[in-house]
Symmetry: C2
Subunit: 264 residues, 2 copies
DNA sequence: TCGAATTTGTGCGTATGTATT
DNA sequence: AAATACATACGCACAAATTCG
C-alpha cells in the first residue's frame, strides 16, 4: 500500500498520483490496514519518537475513511503503547523514556552514557546565600547559615533532561565556590577539597507542575508535571556533603528503583 | 499581643474588643510580629496542617497594615517551609507528607501503620480481562492472555492516599478471582494459593495529571500531578506474581528511596 | 468553552525611621 | 552635623493562576 510519506508525513498533501488509500474488501479491516501503516512508519523511523501525528481528521481525509475508522486504529496503537493520544493536543509517537536508575552511586554523566547518549551540561548560576530551613536541616547547619547553590541544566544528546540545584555548606567546604568555578564537574571540585567519593543516602520523590522558567529550560509543556527529587549525598564516613534538588520532565524521564533485596 | 483566635482564625470578624493589632514602633518590625503570630498559631495547633490561612487582604485588614507587609511575613514563613503559598488559591499550613518508603517488602497496611495512621481500603472493581501488551510483558504472558485486575482505593485515617491496580495472570493463578473475593487482602489471597511471601523487584516512577475520576477518588485537585508507580512483585523463587500500577496524590504522598549501599 | 470573581505575584513610586560613614 | 545607605511600610495598578457558574 502506498502510504503517507515525506517530512512529518505531510509532504504529499497535494500529491494525488499515489493516493494513500486503504483497500476495501481486501479481507483486512480498514482500521487494521491503517494501524499497520502507522506502525510500520514508526518502526522504520519515518515517524520519529515524539513526533506529532497528523490529526484524526487529516488521516480520515487522506485514507478517505470515516474518522471513527481512524480512531479505531489509533486506539489499537495507543493500547500497545506505540502512540500517545492527548485530548485537545493531538497524537504523538511514543517517546523513548530515559530511565533514571536511582542507586547509591549516581553521577549524571554516567547515567546518560549508560543509555548511549552524550551528556553535557550548562551552569545556570552559582551563588552564595543563606540556607532556608529545609536545606539547612539536610546539610546539618543552622537555618540561615551560608551555603553555595549551583544550578545546572543537564542534557542528553543536547536535549534537556534534568534541572538540578546542588547545595553545599560553606562551613563544611569554605572553598567550594572557587572549586566549583575552577573544575568542570562537581566530583572534581569535591575531590579537590578532599572528598574522594560520595554516596547517595536518601532520595525523596515528588511531582508538581513546572514554573514557566522550568518549563522553558527543560523544553517541556507547562501541563506536564515534573518529577522532583531531593537527595542527600554523604562521604565515605557518612558526613553530609551535598543536598540536591533535581527536576526531571515527564514523561521523557522516569525514575527506576531496584531494591537490593530485603531492605525493610 | 492579642492575636487572631477562634475557629479557623476567623471567629473575631466582628470582634472589636480585642483588635489584633501589631504594635508600631515597638522595635520589632510589623512583618516580624505578624510572622511570629502565625508561626505560634501553627506551633500550638490553632492552625492545623493543611488548613487554609486567611487571605493576604484579610490579614492586612485585621492587622490594619498594607498587604505588602503581610506578604513579607508570608514570604518568611514560606521560606521556612511552614506555609505553602499558591497563586490563585491561597496560603496553607504545610501538610504532613506521608512518606512512601519503597522497599522489597512493601505492604499497604504496614506502610500506613508505620506512620501511625489507620489503614483501610475499598475495592472498586475486580474483573477478568485480556492483558494489554505492557502488562502482559511484565507478567510474562502473551498479549491478550487472561488476567485479573483488582482496583483498590487505599486510605489512611479515612483519607485516600493511593489508587492501585493489581494484575494477576490467570494462567499462573486460575483461582485468583475467587481467592481475592474470599479474602480481605491480597497477601491472604495469594497465601491461599500457595504464595507464602512475595517481594518487589522493580519500581518505575513517573508523574502525570490525574483524570477526573482519579482526582475525585483521591480527593485531589486536577491541577496537581499524581505520582505513578509501576512495579513487579515476585515470589521467593523469582517468579512473577503480580504487576501493580499505583497512583498517589501529590504533595500529600512522597516516595522515598534509601539504597542499601553500592547498588550500581 | 467562556467569563467573572477571587487570590496571589510583581512592579513602580513615595515616605519615614535608623544606622553608618 | 550632613550625607548616604538600608530596612520598613504604604498605595496603586496590573499580571497570572484558580475556581466556579
Amino acid at each position: 500500500m502506498t502510504t503517507l510519506v515525506g517530512p512529518g508525513w505531510s509532504a504529499n498533501a497535494g500529491d494525488e498520483t499515489t493516493p494513500p488509500t486503504a483497500i476495501r474488501g481486501s479481507g483486512l479491516a480498514l482500521w487494521r490496514q491503517i494501524a499497520g501503516d502507522i506502525e510500520r512508519a514508526i518502526a522504520d523511523g519515518t515517524l520519529a519518537p515524539g513526533a506529532r501525528l497528523p490529526t484524526e481528521a487529516e488521516f480520515a481525509r487522506r485514507y478517505a475513511v470515516n474518522r471513527h475508522t481512524v480512531r479505531r486504529a489509533m486506539e489499537e496503537l495507543a493500547r500497545d503503547g506505540q502512540v500517545r493520544v492527548e485530548q485537545g493536543r493531538g497524537s504523538f509517537v511514543a517517546e523513548d523514556v530515559l530511565d533514571y536508575e536511582v542507586s547509591a552511586r549516581t553521577r549524571f554523566s554516567e547515567w546518560i552514557r549508560r543509555h548511549d547518549r552524550e551528556p553535557s551540561g550548562r551552569v545556570l548560576s552559582l551563588a552564595t546565600m543563606p540556607a532556608p530551613r529545609a536545606i539547612a536541616e539536610a546539610l546539618g547547619i543552622e537555618t540561615g547559615g551560608a551555603m553555595v547553590r549551583l544550578e545546572r541544566l543537564g542534557l542528553a544528546d543536547g536535549r534537556p533532561v534534568s534541572l538540578a540545584q546542588h547545595h553545599f555548606a560553606i562551613a563544611r567546604f569554605p572553598g567550594i565556590a572557587a572549586a566549583l568555578t575552577a573544575h568542570g564537574t562537581i566530583s572534581a571540585a569535591l575531590a579537590s577539597l578532599g572528598v574522594a567519593d560520595y554516596f547517595r543516602r536518601v532520595t525523596r520523590v515528588s511531582a508538581r507542575a513546572p514554573r514557566p522558567e522550568e518549563a522553558a529550560l527543560l523544553e517541556t509543556s507547562r501541563s506536564r508535571p515534573l518529577l522532583v527529587t531531593e537527595n542527600v549525598n554523604v562521604d565515605a564516613e557518612g558526613r553530609v556533603v551535598e543536598f540536591g534538588l533535581s527536576r526531571y520532565p515527564t514523561p521523557r524521564v522516569q525514575i527506576i528503583f531496584e531494591p537490593g533485596s530485603e531492605t525493610t
